[in-house]
Symmetry: C2
Subunit: 227 residues, 2 copies
């Protein structure tokens, strides 16, 4: 795993005013392996930026190499165009969230969800180095299905020219998570309502092969029905 410049504590991010939550601070974490694991499990991030003074939040694919995140898109897409023309870059907030379970308490007030999220604050900049751009595109494909980049045709010159890639370094970043069961008030325990946690299903369903695949084409090992 490639790492960029080593921070004072290589195993944790340094909290800042923006990454210390105002509420439920006990749910926050700055642990690098945890942050990376949450990021690596996601499919889309929600990328926030400011346009004409108002917030915009768009879902988009992303990839990670060490302490650097990559987002790609058409050279015509708004945040990528804005990054290319912003100096020294576009202030962004990139958030990834997993909903793991529904927490049903006896009281409406204590209903919650079990989740894991990562929020990254920073400045997005264009990737201009051609080798870094190719590596970033591999990371984006491998982020969706690990191992897939090596089992697909790499982008050709025309496709590379049509694709913009921006990066955002993991520096001002935190994870926040809720795990565990129901936290009802003691006086509510005898109420007649079912209480507990409903986990949400995860993983792959049955892959649907493209109609143009030769009959009998085997499913690659990296695509198992469950993961």
């Amino acid at each position: 795993m490639q790492e960029t410049t080593a921070p004072p504590d290589a195993a944790a991010y340094t909290p800042t005013d923006r990454t210390v939550p105002t509420r439920s601070a006990e749910r926050a974490s700055y642990d690098k392996p945890l942050v990376h694991a949450i990021l690596d499990e996601g499919y889309v991030c929600h990328l926030g930026f400011v346009r004409d003074g108002a917030p915009v939040v768009l879902p988009t694919l992303y990839g990670r190499v060490g302490d650097r995140l990559y987002v790609h898109g058409s050279t015509g897409s708004r945040p990528l165009r804005m990054t290319g023309t912003a100096d020294p870059g576009l202030p962004v907030c990139l958030t990834v969230t997993h909903v793991d379970g529904l927490v049903l308490a006896r009281s409406a007030f204590h209903h919650s969800i079990n989740y894991r999220s990562v929020v990254v604050h920073g400045v997005a900049r264009d990737v201009t180095d051609p080798d870094e751009k190719c590596a970033a595109l591999d990371a984006l494909v491998d982020h969706v299905v690990p191992g897939r980049a090596a089992d697909s045709r790499p982008a050709n010159r025309k496709e590379l020219a049509a694709t913009a890639v921006i990066y955002l370094d993991l520096d001002e970043v935190s994870a926040k998570l809720r795990t565990g069961g129901v936290n009802d008030e003691p006086e509510d325990l005898d109420l007649p309502h079912w209480a507990g946690v409903v986990p949400l299903r995860k993983g792959y369903g049955t892959p649907l092969p493209d109609a143009d695949l030769p009959p009998g084409t085997a499913l690659p090992a990296y695509l198992t029905p469950e993961r």
Copy 2:
């Protein structure tokens, strides 16, 4: 279903500069039933706002009543506090995304995901009417598990006082979605890479009852292992 003021076309939202995408405009929709269905299927939204000139994107629960969305939280949480002190409200962007499947093309370039998303632009304001606040809290609980609000203890006075609720009207809103199969280039069809769509599993896993439930407590009908 409660509806607010009727727009010119009650079945569709009116596109604006902010809701017409710069790319893949054919994937955009302003159809109300579609927008509502995408919103109703989500668990968390990603709420974007601007703080000190920089974007912030936080995951949070939400509920819908007609053309109005509600977000709640502690009265101490940042976006809710900011909404309460902003006049005439806090500019926000609220986004909900479902990832339905992974699209594996023969070329790296044509990899994609099947998704459905809704982006709402607007101004969030405090809910001050006590009846609307209670109805909003019911909508928030029923959003997580339909039917659950009636099967739990409603918030008491102290809990209501500790909870802030803000609303955002569905007005400047669009859906965007990708469905279907792989779109490879014709000249790539003979490449030896597996291609197709990998659906992602959805729905409930096996509910985990709270340890303090009386033995033999039946699972409510609204919680089936699959939905």
